[in-house]
């Protein structure tokens, strides 16, 4: 979320990617189920779409999490295997860009933003 002082519409960041890396990660459906519980699905899906990653459903059912391997594989890939190497996170309210460089977002604020 955007932590600039005074910003109310702070979540989620928009994402811009100039360079995206794909890495391979062990498929672990239990992990996916646990992570799903902590995600704001709409925010996750919208962010994926910013990165031109389609294939996530509007909503997720218990059954899909339990046994829809196609869905789980897509979820796994987008959650764990796609990394923004160069780009930015953008505050939805102010448009302030927080750069991502070498896969590390810089979320440090300037003095006047604290």
């Amino acid at each position: 979320e955007c932590h600039i002082k005074g910003v109310t519409n702070k979540y989620p960041f928009k994402v811009e990617a100039e360079q995206v890396e794909n890495c391979e990660c062990d498929f672990n459906p239990d992990f996916l189920r646990r992570m799903y519980a902590k995600l704001d699905w709409k925010a996750f899906k919208d962010t994926a779409e910013c990165l031109k990653l389609d294939g996530l459903p509007e909503s997720v059912s218990e059954d899909m999490l339990k046994s829809d391997e196609g869905f789980l594989r897509t979820f796994h890939h987008i959650l764990l295997e796609v990394e923004v190497e160069e780009g930015a996170l953008i505050c939805p309210e102010t448009g302030r860009r927080f750069p991502i460089h070498k896969g590390i977002p810089n979320l440090l604020l300037n003095e006047d933003e604290c």
């Binding site: 672990n28 992990f31 646990r34 902590k38 295997e81 590390i104 810089n106 979320l107 604020l109």
Partner: protein
Amino acid sequence: MSRPRNANLARIKLVSGLAFSKQDVYEPAEDSFLLADVILAESADWGAGQVPRVFVEIGSGSGYVVASVASMLRNDKTRGCYCLAVDINRVACVATKETLSNHALDGNVDVVNCDALVPFLGRLEGAVDLVAFNPPYVLTPDEEVSRGGIAAAWAGGHKGRAVIDRVMEMVAGTIAPDGRMYMIAIHENEPEEIMEEMRRRGFDAAIVATQVADEEVLHVLRFIRQC
């Protein structure tokens, strides 16, 4: 500051070369090893329901502690933990990522350059199961605290508590019921006072390890959020 104990370097062998060569990142020392050792040792007692699902390290420096914990969690039968490492020093973030990558752990850990958990306070409220924090604990003049660069790794201001107190206040709310935080403090930080404050915030607090390292007496403090 203490000299590295070389025997323990063997465990996380491939700590980023940046950590040693650039002098801009805190290289792992007695306190890093102690913190990692204690977390690993305590994890043997975790029941099935206590394996962390979200782990955060504040001030990851070279990445030694987060790499040790992420490696342990990955090998655990019930593996599957989201790991986040943050550091206010960008060079430390790069070093952390390199260390993780040297152990094929970088797919499991996000590294963010920011001020403790400031950007995550809303999203992580009550969500973190395990926190590791090796703070800048050295007693220094207050103005050294905001100097930046490598000094951010040790400068703790008055009583060495400037960063500790600020982070504890911020992080307390992010810890889940029954969640734990492990933190290094030295005798001069007045750990009893730190623990009292956390008890007031609803945590069980105890010193779980003590080690003498050169001129410092290191303690590992453990906080468990009461339900």
